[in-house]
């Protein structure tokens, strides 16, 4: 007499896509989220870019173009690490995860939904930042297939590693509000030490650059600079080259670390629930 015996259970992928559609709908309905998540990196980029102005760097590159390339890395961290970390802590806080655990929804569908949300918001974020940077700072899109490929894999590895770290850090937060604070600090600190706000990165003390080298933002920013700036600008990197092999290595390593952290720390419940 059970329904389960008659009809097959819906499978995870279509349910995950349905959850993704729902997540995107919810995201764009909560206006504060849209305004803050979306505009903050772009606003910072515009403000800092105006401050830096057209201070010439060689090879016809301006400081604001160097900034824009790095800010795109920060934009990714914002829509992945910060948003996802806060969002999942919120799901734990407001009963979303508990309610879902009471249904036959497979856990994979929940994460597929988050992937869809992050993909949509990140692509929109980067499109907005690129459009503004092209309009205000004269940034140009990559001209070669090779540069587009580099853009693609740096983007993919950056989004994956930062998303996994966002999921992992959500488990350390007691509630959604503390999750916001917990994610903002590494987000802002890493932008400073990774040479996003201060260009070129070699203007920073060596100790900070060494610290930043352990984390993803520095390498994402470096990867994007290799895509959007002429190769002569590689001279302003710490190693004097773009070090794309090392970009791939560090971001790949963070993907693995992030995955392990997610699998070992993810909680469906709030901390105080026994």
């Amino acid at each position: 007499m059970t329904a389960a015996g008659l009809a097959p259970l819906p499978s995870a992928l279509p349910l995950g896509l349905a959850r993704g559609a729902l997540e995107v709908k919810r995201f764009f309905r909560s206006r504060e989220a849209v305004v803050f998540t979306f505009s903050l990196p772009t606003v910072l980029m515009v403000l800092l870019g105006s401050v830096f102005g057209d201070h010439g760097e060689p090879a016809g590159v301006t400081s604001s173009q160097v900034l824009a390339a790095g800010m795109i890395a920060a934009g990714i961290m914002s829509t992945t690490f910060v948003s996802l970390g806060t969002d999942i802590a919120g799901d734990r806080d407001d009963g979303t995860l508990k309610r879902l655990r009471g249904t036959p929804m497979p856990a994979a569908a929940y994460f597929i939904g988050k992937i869809v949300l992050v993909a949509v918001t990140t692509v929109a974020q980067i499109a907005l930042m690129l459009a503004v940077a092209m309009a205000l700072f004269g940034l140009t899109l990559p001209a070669t297939v090779g540069d587009w490929l580099t853009f693609g894999w740096v983007f993919a590895l950056g989004v994956t590693s930062c998303s996994l770290l966002g999921i992992a850090i959500s488990s350390t937060a007691r509630n959604a509000r503390s999750a916001n604070a917990i994610t903002q600090i590494p987000y802002l600190a890493l932008q400073f030490v990774s040479g996003v706000f201060v260009t070129p990165i070699t203007a920073l003390p060596d100790g900070l650059v060494t610290t930043a080298s352990f984390f993803p933002v520095k390498w994402m920013a470096q990867g994007f600079r290799s895509v959007f700036l002429p190769d002569s600008m590689a001279a302003y990197e710490p190693a004097g080259t773009w070090e794309l092999d090392r970009v791939a290595l560090v971001l790949g390593a963070w993907c693995v670390i992030g995955l392990v952290l997610c699998l070992t720390t993810f909680r469906w419940r709030r901390g105080q629930d026994g």
């Binding site: 059970t2 389960a4 259970l9 819906p10 919810r26 309905r29 407001d94 009963g95 249904t103 036959p104």
Partner: protein, 294 residues
Amino acid sequence: MTTTAIRVRGLRKHYPGAARPAVDGIDLDVEHGEVVAVLGPNGAGKTTVVEILEGYRHRDGGEVAVLGTDPGRAGRDWRVRIGVVAQTATDLLDLTPAEAVRHFAGYYPDPRDPDDVLELVGLGGVRQLVGQLSGGQRRRVDVALGIVGRPELLFLDEPTTGFDPQARRDFWQLVRALAAEGTTILLTTHYLEEAEVLADRLAVITGGRIVADATPATLGGRRHRPATVDWLEGGAPRSESTDAPAALVARLAARFGGEVPGLAVRRPSLEDVYLELLATGQAPVELAAAGGAR
């Protein structure tokens, strides 16, 4: 399939750091099609028991079978067959009830029609977002999501908190309709009237133990308690406790030569019996015997 929907033996749960166990050896049986209300003060262990049965919490000891399966190990096949209306959720605020119910219907292989469910819970035609609804209306969304999968067994954890009297009556109607379809229902509530109206059987939990398990009419020996007869005599209220209220009323009628002013015959209310049970709840064995528990 087993004949019992829920079978619990010697259930124990002790939260780390707590002085006393939250659940201290509970036995409970719920038959298919039965509506059972679990009553008890805040902190008695009700929600812990229910959440163990729902598979949300791990137990420290005892046997639990829900629809023939250990909820601690149950998978999606089992979740299809149960419905959960938990306490306090503030999610889904950015969706309309219809969007939420349609989405959740997709999780089940054989869901009810979402529009029917919305009508059933009294949210048909509501177009606002859940975040703009009143507390009582939000609770109806919770109930709608709990029943959209056509559960065999429905858990309702304090479902009518925040309802106005009319909404509560409507909700009772809905629970009766679900029960009439054969849905087994385990309900926790603080409203004694609700338990009396809806439940075939009541289990009173206090201090992590079941101190009484009986029908609403017989809980705590209620049926055998003396009745109280009130009337007015010479403008003053009079009251007498008796095991034979009909005889007393007949004598009064003879004395007054017809109608007795202000006549009322009262039995102890469920609430009277319940509060008494809690006050003396330290002696479960005697009370169970006095209550004629099964």
